[in-house]
Amino acid sequence: MDSSSLAVRCENVVKTYDTGGQKVTALNGVNLDIAMGELMMLVGPSGCGKTTLISVIAGILDQDHGHCEVFGEDLLNMSGQSKLDFRAHNIGFVFQAFNLLPSLSAAENVSIPLIINGMKRSDAELKAVAVLEQVGLGARVAALPSELSGGQQQRVAIARALVHSPRLIVCDEPTSSLDHETGHNVMSLLKEVALHKDRALVIVTHDARIFEFADRIAEMDDGHIVKVKNAK
Protein backbone atom coordinates (compact mmCIF):
# COMPACT_ATOMS: atom_id res chain seq x y z
CA MET A 1 0.00 0.00 0.00
CA ASP A 2 1.26 3.49 -0.85
CA SER A 3 2.40 5.11 2.41
CA SER A 4 0.82 8.47 1.50
CA SER A 5 -2.60 6.82 1.38
CA LEU A 6 -2.14 5.28 4.82
CA ALA A 7 -3.93 6.68 7.84
CA VAL A 8 -2.27 4.35 10.34
CA ARG A 9 0.81 2.15 10.16
CA CYS A 10 1.69 -0.01 13.14
CA GLU A 11 4.88 -2.07 13.07
CA ASN A 12 5.76 -4.57 15.74
CA VAL A 13 3.92 -2.63 18.45
CA VAL A 14 4.44 -4.04 21.95
CA LYS A 15 2.65 -2.86 25.08
CA THR A 16 3.01 -4.44 28.50
CA TYR A 17 1.09 -3.54 31.66
CA ASP A 18 2.41 -4.00 35.14
CA THR A 19 -0.52 -5.21 37.23
CA GLY A 20 0.51 -5.63 40.83
CA GLY A 21 4.03 -6.77 40.02
CA GLN A 22 2.84 -9.10 37.27
CA LYS A 23 3.63 -8.24 33.66
CA VAL A 24 0.74 -8.62 31.24
CA THR A 25 1.51 -8.26 27.55
CA ALA A 26 -1.47 -6.60 25.90
CA LEU A 27 0.10 -6.08 22.46
CA ASN A 28 2.79 -8.47 21.36
CA GLY A 29 4.21 -7.30 18.05
CA VAL A 30 1.16 -5.88 16.29
CA ASN A 31 1.48 -5.01 12.59
CA LEU A 32 -1.46 -3.23 11.00
CA ASP A 33 -2.05 -0.74 8.18
CA ILE A 34 -5.26 1.25 7.83
CA ALA A 35 -5.87 3.16 4.65
CA MET A 36 -7.57 6.52 4.20
CA GLY A 37 -11.23 6.07 3.37
CA GLU A 38 -11.27 2.67 5.04
CA LEU A 39 -13.52 1.36 7.81
CA MET A 40 -11.44 -1.15 9.75
CA MET A 41 -12.95 -3.28 12.46
CA LEU A 42 -10.85 -4.80 15.24
CA VAL A 43 -12.45 -7.92 16.61
CA GLY A 44 -11.46 -10.62 19.04
CA PRO A 45 -12.14 -12.00 22.48
CA SER A 46 -12.05 -9.87 25.62
CA GLY A 47 -8.52 -9.08 26.75
CA CYS A 48 -6.96 -9.72 23.35
CA GLY A 49 -5.60 -6.13 23.16
CA LYS A 50 -8.15 -4.38 20.92
CA THR A 51 -8.72 -1.43 23.24
CA THR A 52 -5.01 -1.09 23.96
CA LEU A 53 -4.33 -0.97 20.22
CA ILE A 54 -6.84 1.81 19.54
CA SER A 55 -5.51 3.69 22.56
CA VAL A 56 -2.03 3.56 21.02
CA ILE A 57 -3.38 4.52 17.58
CA ALA A 58 -5.32 7.44 19.11
CA GLY A 59 -2.20 8.66 20.93
CA ILE A 60 -3.63 8.34 24.43
CA LEU A 61 -1.33 5.47 25.38
CA ASP A 62 2.36 5.02 24.58
CA GLN A 63 3.60 1.67 23.31
CA ASP A 64 6.75 0.17 24.87
CA HIS A 65 8.31 -0.89 21.57
CA GLY A 66 7.66 -0.62 17.88
CA HIS A 67 6.38 2.18 15.68
CA CYS A 68 2.91 3.53 15.26
CA GLU A 69 2.51 6.28 12.69
CA VAL A 70 -0.73 8.17 12.25
CA PHE A 71 -0.84 10.24 9.08
CA GLY A 72 2.93 9.82 8.90
CA GLU A 73 3.51 11.19 12.42
CA ASP A 74 5.20 9.04 15.04
CA LEU A 75 3.16 9.90 18.14
CA LEU A 76 5.65 8.27 20.51
CA ASN A 77 8.30 10.85 19.66
CA MET A 78 5.98 13.83 19.94
CA SER A 79 6.12 16.19 22.93
CA GLY A 80 3.13 16.17 25.26
CA GLN A 81 1.67 19.41 23.89
CA SER A 82 2.20 18.38 20.25
CA LYS A 83 0.45 15.12 20.93
CA LEU A 84 -2.48 16.97 22.55
CA ASP A 85 -2.71 19.29 19.55
CA PHE A 86 -2.48 16.34 17.18
CA ARG A 87 -5.30 14.55 18.97
CA ALA A 88 -7.41 17.69 19.20
CA HIS A 89 -7.18 18.30 15.44
CA ASN A 90 -7.00 14.83 13.92
CA ILE A 91 -8.86 12.34 16.05
CA GLY A 92 -12.51 11.88 16.91
CA PHE A 93 -13.72 9.48 19.58
CA VAL A 94 -16.88 7.43 19.93
CA PHE A 95 -17.13 5.47 23.15
CA GLN A 96 -19.08 2.44 24.26
CA ALA A 97 -20.64 4.33 27.21
CA PHE A 98 -21.08 7.48 25.06
CA ASN A 99 -19.15 9.53 27.63
CA LEU A 100 -21.22 12.63 27.12
CA LEU A 101 -20.89 15.26 29.84
CA PRO A 102 -24.20 14.85 31.68
CA SER A 103 -24.66 18.49 32.62
CA LEU A 104 -24.14 19.81 29.09
CA SER A 105 -26.81 19.91 26.40
CA ALA A 106 -26.38 17.94 23.17
CA ALA A 107 -25.12 21.06 21.36
CA GLU A 108 -22.72 21.92 24.15
CA ASN A 109 -21.35 18.37 24.20
CA VAL A 110 -20.81 18.43 20.45
CA SER A 111 -19.11 21.80 20.62
CA ILE A 112 -16.38 20.61 23.02
CA PRO A 113 -13.78 19.54 20.39
CA LEU A 114 -14.16 22.92 18.66
CA ILE A 115 -13.71 24.80 21.93
CA ILE A 116 -10.62 22.70 22.71
CA ASN A 117 -9.31 23.76 19.28
CA GLY A 118 -9.79 27.41 20.25
CA MET A 119 -13.11 28.29 18.60
CA LYS A 120 -15.40 30.78 20.37
CA ARG A 121 -18.21 29.08 22.28
CA SER A 122 -21.01 30.77 20.34
CA ASP A 123 -19.47 29.83 16.96
CA ALA A 124 -18.75 26.31 18.19
CA GLU A 125 -22.34 25.80 19.28
CA LEU A 126 -23.66 27.06 15.94
CA LYS A 127 -21.50 24.55 14.13
CA ALA A 128 -22.49 21.84 16.63
CA VAL A 129 -26.16 22.45 15.88
CA ALA A 130 -25.45 22.04 12.16
CA VAL A 131 -23.74 18.69 12.75
CA LEU A 132 -26.54 17.55 15.06
CA GLU A 133 -28.99 18.30 12.25
CA GLN A 134 -26.80 16.16 9.99
CA VAL A 135 -27.18 13.20 12.38
CA GLY A 136 -30.93 13.74 12.68
CA LEU A 137 -31.01 15.43 16.07
CA GLY A 138 -31.77 18.97 15.00
CA ALA A 139 -34.81 19.01 17.24
CA ARG A 140 -32.94 17.88 20.36
CA VAL A 141 -30.00 20.27 20.47
CA ALA A 142 -30.95 21.61 23.90
CA ALA A 143 -31.63 18.22 25.45
CA LEU A 144 -29.42 16.87 28.22
CA PRO A 145 -27.97 13.38 27.71
CA SER A 146 -30.33 12.02 30.38
CA GLU A 147 -33.25 13.19 28.26
CA LEU A 148 -32.08 11.24 25.22
CA SER A 149 -32.40 7.55 24.35
CA GLY A 150 -29.28 5.38 24.05
CA GLY A 151 -29.37 5.63 20.26
CA GLN A 152 -29.77 9.40 20.38
CA GLN A 153 -26.88 9.70 22.83
CA GLN A 154 -24.66 7.71 20.49
CA ARG A 155 -25.70 10.01 17.63
CA VAL A 156 -24.64 12.97 19.75
CA ALA A 157 -21.33 11.18 20.40
CA ILE A 158 -20.90 10.64 16.65
CA ALA A 159 -21.64 14.31 16.01
CA ARG A 160 -19.03 15.20 18.65
CA ALA A 161 -16.51 12.92 16.94
CA LEU A 162 -17.19 14.56 13.56
CA VAL A 163 -17.65 18.22 14.40
CA HIS A 164 -13.99 19.24 14.13
CA SER A 165 -13.50 17.26 10.89
CA PRO A 166 -10.86 14.83 12.18
CA ARG A 167 -9.01 12.52 9.80
CA LEU A 168 -9.30 9.48 12.04
CA ILE A 169 -12.25 8.34 14.11
CA VAL A 170 -11.77 5.64 16.71
CA CYS A 171 -14.84 3.90 18.05
CA ASP A 172 -14.87 1.57 21.02
CA GLU A 173 -17.82 -0.83 20.95
CA PRO A 174 -20.16 1.85 19.58
CA THR A 175 -23.16 -0.48 19.38
CA SER A 176 -22.76 -2.71 22.40
CA SER A 177 -25.03 -0.55 24.59
CA LEU A 178 -27.72 -0.43 21.92
CA ASP A 179 -30.35 -2.84 20.68
CA HIS A 180 -29.90 -4.44 17.26
CA GLU A 181 -31.98 -1.99 15.27
CA THR A 182 -30.53 1.11 16.94
CA GLY A 183 -27.02 -0.30 16.58
CA HIS A 184 -27.66 -0.90 12.90
CA ASN A 185 -28.94 2.64 12.46
CA VAL A 186 -25.93 4.07 14.29
CA MET A 187 -23.54 2.12 12.07
CA SER A 188 -25.39 3.24 8.95
CA LEU A 189 -25.11 6.80 10.12
CA LEU A 190 -21.42 6.42 10.94
CA LYS A 191 -20.68 5.01 7.54
CA GLU A 192 -22.82 7.58 5.79
CA VAL A 193 -21.65 10.76 7.46
CA ALA A 194 -18.23 9.86 8.86
CA LEU A 195 -16.55 7.87 6.18
CA HIS A 196 -15.01 9.49 3.15
CA LYS A 197 -11.79 9.30 1.23
CA ASP A 198 -9.86 11.66 3.52
CA ARG A 199 -10.83 9.92 6.73
CA ALA A 200 -10.38 6.49 8.26
CA LEU A 201 -12.53 4.75 10.86
CA VAL A 202 -11.30 2.16 13.35
CA ILE A 203 -14.00 0.36 15.23
CA VAL A 204 -13.43 -2.08 18.07
CA THR A 205 -16.38 -4.41 18.39
CA HIS A 206 -17.66 -7.76 19.55
CA ASP A 207 -20.88 -7.27 17.71
CA ALA A 208 -20.90 -9.63 14.71
CA ARG A 209 -24.13 -8.05 13.46
CA ILE A 210 -22.26 -4.97 12.35
CA PHE A 211 -19.38 -6.71 10.54
CA GLU A 212 -21.21 -6.04 7.27
CA PHE A 213 -20.32 -2.35 7.57
CA ALA A 214 -16.54 -2.98 7.61
CA ASP A 215 -14.20 -2.72 4.67
CA ARG A 216 -11.68 -4.95 6.42
CA ILE A 217 -11.76 -6.88 9.67
CA ALA A 218 -8.64 -7.48 11.75
CA GLU A 219 -8.98 -10.39 14.15
CA MET A 220 -6.90 -10.16 17.27
CA ASP A 221 -5.98 -12.77 19.82
CA ASP A 222 -3.52 -12.74 22.66
CA GLY A 223 -1.95 -9.42 21.65
CA HIS A 224 -1.49 -10.33 17.96
CA ILE A 225 -3.33 -9.61 14.75
CA VAL A 226 -4.07 -13.15 13.68
CA LYS A 227 -5.92 -12.42 10.49
CA VAL A 228 -6.95 -9.43 8.39
CA LYS A 229 -9.68 -10.12 5.92
CA ASN A 230 -11.77 -8.13 3.48
CA ALA A 231 -15.32 -8.00 4.71
CA LYS A 232 -16.90 -7.93 1.27
Binding site: S55, I60, L84, A88, A97, L101, L104, I116
Partner: protein, 386 residues
Protein backbone atom coordinates in the same frame (compact mmCIF):
# COMPACT_ATOMS: atom_id res chain seq x y z
CA UNK B 1 -13.64 25.75 28.88
CA UNK B 2 -14.69 27.87 31.88
CA UNK B 3 -18.29 27.48 30.84
CA UNK B 4 -17.89 23.70 30.77
CA UNK B 5 -16.22 23.73 34.20
CA UNK B 6 -19.10 25.70 35.69
CA UNK B 7 -21.71 23.48 34.05
CA UNK B 8 -19.90 20.37 35.30
CA UNK B 9 -19.89 21.83 38.80
CA UNK B 10 -23.53 22.83 38.85
CA UNK B 11 -24.83 19.90 36.85
CA UNK B 12 -25.24 17.69 39.89
CA UNK B 13 -27.28 20.00 42.10
CA UNK B 14 -27.10 17.70 45.12
CA UNK B 15 -23.33 17.51 45.20
CA UNK B 16 -22.95 21.17 44.29
CA UNK B 17 -25.15 22.16 47.22
CA UNK B 18 -23.27 19.70 49.44
CA UNK B 19 -19.95 21.41 48.71
CA UNK B 20 -21.49 24.85 49.16
CA UNK B 21 -23.07 23.81 52.45
CA UNK B 22 -19.78 22.38 53.72
CA UNK B 23 -17.96 25.60 52.93
CA UNK B 24 -20.81 27.71 54.29
CA UNK B 25 -20.69 25.78 57.53
CA UNK B 26 -16.90 26.09 57.70
CA UNK B 27 -16.92 29.82 57.10
CA UNK B 28 -19.91 30.30 59.45
CA UNK B 29 -18.16 28.59 62.32
CA UNK B 30 -14.87 30.28 61.48
CA UNK B 31 -16.51 33.69 61.82
CA UNK B 32 -19.38 33.24 64.26
CA UNK B 33 -17.39 31.70 67.10
CA UNK B 34 -14.47 34.15 66.87
CA UNK B 35 -16.97 37.03 66.58
CA UNK B 36 -18.52 35.96 69.88
CA UNK B 37 -15.03 35.57 71.31
CA UNK B 38 -13.99 39.04 70.16
CA UNK B 39 -17.26 40.48 71.44
CA UNK B 40 -16.70 38.87 74.80
CA UNK B 41 -13.10 40.04 74.98
CA UNK B 42 -14.02 43.58 73.96
CA UNK B 43 -16.41 43.64 76.91
CA UNK B 44 -13.43 43.15 79.18
CA UNK B 45 -12.31 46.72 78.35
CA UNK B 46 -15.70 48.24 77.43
CA UNK B 47 -15.58 50.49 80.50
CA UNK B 48 -12.34 52.07 79.20
CA UNK B 49 -13.91 52.52 75.76
CA UNK B 50 -16.96 54.24 77.28
CA UNK B 51 -14.84 56.77 79.18
CA UNK B 52 -13.76 58.59 76.07
CA UNK B 53 -12.30 61.90 77.21
CA UNK B 54 -9.10 61.14 79.11
CA UNK B 55 -5.86 60.30 77.32
CA UNK B 56 -4.14 58.57 80.22
CA UNK B 57 -5.35 56.40 83.10
CA UNK B 58 -3.34 56.52 86.31
CA UNK B 59 -3.67 53.77 88.92
CA UNK B 60 -1.82 51.65 91.42
CA UNK B 61 1.16 49.97 89.84
CA UNK B 62 -0.15 46.50 90.78
CA UNK B 63 -3.41 46.85 88.85
CA UNK B 64 -3.67 44.05 86.28
CA UNK B 65 -6.91 44.94 84.49
CA UNK B 66 -9.73 47.47 84.62
CA UNK B 67 -11.78 45.66 87.27
CA UNK B 68 -8.75 44.97 89.45
CA UNK B 69 -9.18 48.01 91.71
CA UNK B 70 -6.34 48.83 94.09
CA UNK B 71 -7.34 52.19 95.59
CA UNK B 72 -5.07 55.20 95.96
CA UNK B 73 -5.03 58.05 98.43
CA UNK B 74 -6.81 61.19 97.24
CA UNK B 75 -3.51 63.08 97.49
CA UNK B 76 -2.24 61.20 94.45
CA UNK B 77 -4.66 63.25 92.37
CA UNK B 78 -2.83 66.47 93.26
CA UNK B 79 0.59 64.91 92.54
CA UNK B 80 -0.59 63.96 89.06
CA UNK B 81 -2.07 67.42 88.48
CA UNK B 82 1.35 68.87 89.23
CA UNK B 83 3.14 67.05 86.43
CA UNK B 84 4.04 69.13 83.40
CA UNK B 85 2.08 68.28 80.28
CA UNK B 86 -1.10 67.45 82.23
CA UNK B 87 -3.98 69.68 81.15
CA UNK B 88 -6.35 68.29 83.75
CA UNK B 89 -6.59 65.27 86.07
CA UNK B 90 -9.88 64.07 87.58
CA UNK B 91 -10.67 61.44 90.20
CA UNK B 92 -12.77 58.38 89.52
CA UNK B 93 -14.19 55.87 91.93
CA UNK B 94 -15.04 52.40 90.64
CA UNK B 95 -16.19 49.67 92.94
CA UNK B 96 -18.72 46.95 93.54
CA UNK B 97 -21.48 47.90 95.96
CA UNK B 98 -24.59 46.09 97.01
CA UNK B 99 -28.00 47.42 96.14
CA UNK B 100 -30.96 46.26 98.16
CA UNK B 101 -33.93 45.61 95.92
CA UNK B 102 -37.61 46.15 96.75
CA UNK B 103 -38.15 42.45 97.31
CA UNK B 104 -35.39 42.40 99.91
CA UNK B 105 -32.77 40.68 97.79
CA UNK B 106 -29.38 42.19 96.98
CA UNK B 107 -27.78 42.95 93.65
CA UNK B 108 -24.12 43.83 93.24
CA UNK B 109 -23.64 46.95 91.09
CA UNK B 110 -20.62 48.60 89.54
CA UNK B 111 -20.70 52.08 91.07
CA UNK B 112 -18.75 54.75 89.23
CA UNK B 113 -18.03 58.00 91.01
CA UNK B 114 -17.33 61.01 88.76
CA UNK B 115 -15.55 64.25 89.60
CA UNK B 116 -18.18 66.39 91.34
CA UNK B 117 -17.36 69.55 89.40
CA UNK B 118 -16.86 68.29 85.85
CA UNK B 119 -18.60 64.88 85.86
CA UNK B 120 -15.85 63.64 83.53
CA UNK B 121 -16.03 59.90 82.82
CA UNK B 122 -19.82 59.76 82.69
CA UNK B 123 -21.96 57.40 80.61
CA UNK B 124 -21.51 57.67 76.81
CA UNK B 125 -25.23 57.89 75.94
CA UNK B 126 -28.02 59.33 78.08
CA UNK B 127 -31.44 57.83 77.32
CA UNK B 128 -33.40 59.73 79.96
CA UNK B 129 -32.39 62.74 82.04
CA UNK B 130 -29.10 64.65 81.81
CA UNK B 131 -25.72 63.92 83.29
CA UNK B 132 -25.92 67.23 85.15
CA UNK B 133 -28.87 65.81 87.09
CA UNK B 134 -26.24 63.95 89.13
CA UNK B 135 -25.82 67.23 90.99
CA UNK B 136 -29.28 66.75 92.47
CA UNK B 137 -29.46 65.34 95.95
CA UNK B 138 -28.76 61.57 96.11
CA UNK B 139 -28.85 61.45 92.30
CA UNK B 140 -27.66 58.36 90.44
CA UNK B 141 -27.80 57.36 86.79
CA UNK B 142 -28.50 53.70 86.06
CA UNK B 143 -27.70 51.81 82.88
CA UNK B 144 -30.71 50.70 80.87
CA UNK B 145 -29.95 46.96 80.99
CA UNK B 146 -29.65 47.07 84.77
CA UNK B 147 -32.74 49.26 85.10
CA UNK B 148 -34.86 46.88 83.03
CA UNK B 149 -33.64 43.64 84.46
CA UNK B 150 -31.45 43.22 87.52
CA UNK B 151 -32.44 46.41 89.36
CA UNK B 152 -36.07 46.29 88.25
CA UNK B 153 -38.90 46.32 90.73
CA UNK B 154 -40.69 43.03 91.41
CA UNK B 155 -43.54 42.16 89.10
CA UNK B 156 -47.01 42.38 90.68
CA UNK B 157 -47.78 38.97 89.15
CA UNK B 158 -45.73 36.00 90.37
CA UNK B 159 -43.14 34.94 87.78
CA UNK B 160 -43.74 38.07 85.68
CA UNK B 161 -41.09 40.37 84.27
CA UNK B 162 -39.66 42.97 86.68
CA UNK B 163 -40.91 46.53 86.32
CA UNK B 164 -38.08 48.70 84.96
CA UNK B 165 -36.52 51.26 87.23
CA UNK B 166 -37.49 54.77 86.11
CA UNK B 167 -36.33 58.31 86.67
CA UNK B 168 -37.65 59.39 90.05
CA UNK B 169 -37.54 55.92 91.59
CA UNK B 170 -35.46 55.48 94.68
CA UNK B 171 -33.04 52.68 95.39
CA UNK B 172 -30.78 51.64 98.24
CA UNK B 173 -27.04 51.50 97.74
CA UNK B 174 -25.08 50.04 100.63
CA UNK B 175 -27.70 51.28 103.10
CA UNK B 176 -27.82 54.74 101.51
CA UNK B 177 -30.76 56.22 99.69
CA UNK B 178 -30.26 57.03 96.04
CA UNK B 179 -32.65 58.61 93.55
CA UNK B 180 -32.59 57.64 89.89
CA UNK B 181 -32.14 60.88 87.93
CA UNK B 182 -31.24 59.38 84.57
CA UNK B 183 -31.09 56.24 82.47
CA UNK B 184 -28.00 55.69 80.34
CA UNK B 185 -26.83 53.31 77.65
CA UNK B 186 -23.42 51.81 78.39
CA UNK B 187 -21.50 49.06 76.66
CA UNK B 188 -22.05 45.78 78.44
CA UNK B 189 -19.23 44.83 80.74
CA UNK B 190 -17.66 41.42 81.09
CA UNK B 191 -19.43 40.73 84.38
CA UNK B 192 -22.77 42.04 83.08
CA UNK B 193 -23.54 43.78 86.37
CA UNK B 194 -25.69 46.93 86.45
CA UNK B 195 -23.66 50.14 86.25
CA UNK B 196 -24.62 53.04 88.51
CA UNK B 197 -23.07 56.51 88.04
CA UNK B 198 -22.90 59.10 90.76
CA UNK B 199 -20.54 61.83 91.92
CA UNK B 200 -17.16 61.02 93.40
CA UNK B 201 -18.01 62.40 96.85
CA UNK B 202 -21.34 60.57 96.96
CA UNK B 203 -19.68 57.33 95.81
CA UNK B 204 -17.24 57.66 98.69
CA UNK B 205 -20.22 57.96 101.03
CA UNK B 206 -21.81 54.85 99.56
CA UNK B 207 -18.59 52.84 99.74
CA UNK B 208 -17.52 51.16 102.97
CA UNK B 209 -15.16 53.36 105.00
CA UNK B 210 -11.58 52.92 103.82
CA UNK B 211 -8.51 55.11 103.98
CA UNK B 212 -8.04 54.90 100.20
CA UNK B 213 -10.96 55.14 97.82
CA UNK B 214 -9.56 56.74 94.67
CA UNK B 215 -9.63 54.08 91.91
CA UNK B 216 -8.24 55.99 88.94
CA UNK B 217 -6.94 59.41 88.05
CA UNK B 218 -8.13 60.37 84.58
CA UNK B 219 -5.63 62.58 82.78
CA UNK B 220 -6.01 64.82 79.76
CA UNK B 221 -2.73 65.78 78.13
CA UNK B 222 -2.01 69.30 76.97
CA UNK B 223 -2.30 69.69 73.19
CA UNK B 224 0.77 68.44 71.33
CA UNK B 225 1.95 66.23 74.19
CA UNK B 226 3.43 62.83 73.35
CA UNK B 227 1.13 60.55 75.35
CA UNK B 228 3.69 57.78 75.81
CA UNK B 229 6.22 60.29 77.06
CA UNK B 230 3.66 61.89 79.43
CA UNK B 231 2.69 58.45 80.80
CA UNK B 232 6.38 57.69 81.36
CA UNK B 233 6.78 61.03 83.18
CA UNK B 234 3.76 60.31 85.43
CA UNK B 235 5.16 56.86 86.26
CA UNK B 236 8.58 58.29 87.04
CA UNK B 237 7.24 61.14 89.20
CA UNK B 238 4.50 59.36 91.16
CA UNK B 239 5.57 55.72 91.15
CA UNK B 240 2.05 54.87 89.95
CA UNK B 241 1.08 53.03 86.81
CA UNK B 242 0.03 55.25 83.90
CA UNK B 243 -1.33 53.90 80.66
CA UNK B 244 -2.72 55.47 77.54
CA UNK B 245 -6.25 54.32 76.75
CA UNK B 246 -5.02 51.77 74.21
CA UNK B 247 -2.33 50.47 76.58
CA UNK B 248 -4.90 50.03 79.35
CA UNK B 249 -7.23 48.17 76.98
CA UNK B 250 -4.37 45.89 75.93
CA UNK B 251 -3.39 45.28 79.56
CA UNK B 252 -6.97 44.26 80.38
CA UNK B 253 -7.40 42.18 77.22
CA UNK B 254 -4.14 40.35 77.79
CA UNK B 255 -5.01 39.62 81.38
CA UNK B 256 -8.20 37.86 80.27
CA UNK B 257 -6.35 36.08 77.48
CA UNK B 258 -3.69 34.74 79.85
CA UNK B 259 -5.71 34.10 82.97
CA UNK B 260 -9.06 32.77 81.77
CA UNK B 261 -10.02 29.67 79.82
CA UNK B 262 -11.93 31.73 77.26
CA UNK B 263 -9.31 31.78 74.46
CA UNK B 264 -8.65 28.05 74.63
CA UNK B 265 -12.36 27.18 74.75
CA UNK B 266 -13.15 29.33 71.74
CA UNK B 267 -9.91 28.28 70.04
CA UNK B 268 -10.96 24.64 70.28
CA UNK B 269 -14.39 25.31 68.88
CA UNK B 270 -12.97 27.39 66.00
CA UNK B 271 -10.35 24.71 65.28
CA UNK B 272 -12.97 21.96 65.36
CA UNK B 273 -15.22 24.00 63.08
CA UNK B 274 -12.33 24.52 60.69
CA UNK B 275 -11.43 20.81 60.69
CA UNK B 276 -15.02 19.62 60.30
CA UNK B 277 -15.78 22.25 57.65
CA UNK B 278 -12.56 21.46 55.80
CA UNK B 279 -13.24 17.73 55.99
CA UNK B 280 -16.80 18.08 54.69
CA UNK B 281 -16.00 20.58 51.95
CA UNK B 282 -12.66 19.01 50.96
CA UNK B 283 -14.05 15.48 50.87
CA UNK B 284 -17.14 16.53 48.91
CA UNK B 285 -15.08 18.49 46.40
CA UNK B 286 -12.59 15.64 46.05
CA UNK B 287 -15.43 13.14 45.58
CA UNK B 288 -16.95 15.45 43.01
CA UNK B 289 -13.68 15.39 41.05
CA UNK B 290 -13.36 11.62 41.43
CA UNK B 291 -16.87 11.12 40.11
CA UNK B 292 -16.08 13.39 37.19
CA UNK B 293 -12.76 11.69 36.50
CA UNK B 294 -14.12 9.97 33.41
CA UNK B 295 -15.37 13.31 32.11
CA UNK B 296 -11.96 14.84 32.69
CA UNK B 297 -10.51 11.77 30.96
CA UNK B 298 -12.75 12.39 27.95
CA UNK B 299 -11.61 16.01 27.78
CA UNK B 300 -8.00 14.91 28.11
CA UNK B 301 -8.39 12.30 25.37
CA UNK B 302 -9.89 14.95 23.10
CA UNK B 303 -6.80 17.09 23.53
CA UNK B 304 -7.41 19.25 26.61
CA UNK B 305 -4.12 20.07 28.33
CA UNK B 306 -3.42 19.49 32.01
CA UNK B 307 -3.07 23.26 32.39
CA UNK B 308 -6.59 23.81 31.08
CA UNK B 309 -7.97 21.08 33.36
CA UNK B 310 -6.11 22.64 36.27
CA UNK B 311 -7.70 26.00 35.49
CA UNK B 312 -11.11 24.37 35.28
CA UNK B 313 -10.73 22.73 38.71
CA UNK B 314 -9.38 25.93 40.24
CA UNK B 315 -12.30 27.86 38.81
CA UNK B 316 -14.70 25.34 40.34
CA UNK B 317 -12.90 25.60 43.69
CA UNK B 318 -12.88 29.41 43.61
CA UNK B 319 -16.55 29.49 42.69
CA UNK B 320 -17.74 27.17 45.46
CA UNK B 321 -15.31 28.84 47.88
CA UNK B 322 -16.62 32.31 47.13
CA UNK B 323 -20.27 31.30 47.35
CA UNK B 324 -19.72 29.24 50.53
CA UNK B 325 -17.68 32.01 52.11
CA UNK B 326 -20.23 34.67 51.19
CA UNK B 327 -23.10 32.63 52.59
CA UNK B 328 -21.20 31.76 55.77
CA UNK B 329 -20.15 35.33 56.42
CA UNK B 330 -23.64 36.54 55.55
CA UNK B 331 -25.18 34.11 58.02
CA UNK B 332 -22.74 35.25 60.69
CA UNK B 333 -23.62 38.89 60.02
CA UNK B 334 -27.31 37.99 60.15
CA UNK B 335 -26.76 36.16 63.41
CA UNK B 336 -24.98 39.17 64.87
CA UNK B 337 -27.69 41.53 63.64
CA UNK B 338 -30.50 39.41 65.06
CA UNK B 339 -28.70 39.22 68.42
CA UNK B 340 -27.87 42.92 68.62
CA UNK B 341 -30.38 43.59 71.40
CA UNK B 342 -29.57 40.42 73.34
CA UNK B 343 -26.96 39.80 76.02
CA UNK B 344 -24.78 37.93 73.51
CA UNK B 345 -21.36 39.42 72.89
CA UNK B 346 -20.62 39.84 69.19
CA UNK B 347 -17.94 41.78 67.33
CA UNK B 348 -17.28 41.31 63.61
CA UNK B 349 -14.28 43.39 62.49
CA UNK B 350 -12.77 43.28 58.98
CA UNK B 351 -9.79 41.31 60.28
CA UNK B 352 -12.16 38.44 61.03
CA UNK B 353 -13.45 38.55 57.45
CA UNK B 354 -9.84 38.25 56.27
CA UNK B 355 -9.17 35.39 58.68
CA UNK B 356 -12.17 33.35 57.60
CA UNK B 357 -11.50 34.22 53.94
CA UNK B 358 -7.99 32.84 54.33
CA UNK B 359 -9.38 29.74 56.06
CA UNK B 360 -11.92 29.00 53.34
CA UNK B 361 -9.29 29.68 50.64
CA UNK B 362 -6.99 27.20 52.36
CA UNK B 363 -9.71 24.54 52.34
CA UNK B 364 -10.50 25.17 48.66
CA UNK B 365 -6.87 25.26 47.56
CA UNK B 366 -6.15 22.04 49.44
CA UNK B 367 -9.20 20.25 48.02
CA UNK B 368 -8.41 21.56 44.54
CA UNK B 369 -4.76 20.53 44.79
CA UNK B 370 -5.62 16.97 45.77
CA UNK B 371 -8.13 16.82 42.93
CA UNK B 372 -5.73 18.38 40.43
CA UNK B 373 -3.02 15.81 41.22
CA UNK B 374 -5.56 13.06 40.56
CA UNK B 375 -6.58 14.61 37.24
CA UNK B 376 -3.02 15.30 36.10
CA UNK B 377 -2.04 11.69 36.81
CA UNK B 378 -5.14 10.47 35.01
CA UNK B 379 -4.48 8.24 32.00
CA UNK B 380 -6.84 9.38 29.24
CA UNK B 381 -7.10 5.70 28.21
CA UNK B 382 -9.55 5.41 31.14
CA UNK B 383 -12.22 6.53 28.65
CA UNK B 384 -12.08 3.19 26.86
CA UNK B 385 -12.82 1.25 30.03
CA UNK B 386 -16.47 0.23 30.02
Amino acid sequence: MNHIAIKMLMGDRGKYLGIIMGLTFASLIMTQQPAIFLGLMSRSYSFITDVGLPDIWVMDEKVQFVDDIKPLQDTELYRVRGISGVQWAMPMYKGLLKSRLADGTFQTCIVVGLDDATLIGGPPVMLEGKIDDLRRSDGVIVDIDGAIDKLGKPSPTPGGKPIPLQVGDSMELNDHRAIVVGIAKVTRTFQSQPVVYTTYSRAKNYAPRERKLLSFVLVKAKPGQDLAELARRIRATTGLAAYTREEFKTLTYEYFMKNTGIPINFGISVLLGFIVGAAIAGQTFYNFTLENLRQFGVLKAMGTSNWTLLRMILLQAVLVGTIGYGLGVGLTALFGYSMRHSILAFKFPWQLLMFSGAGVSLICVFAALVSIIKVIRLEPAIVFKG
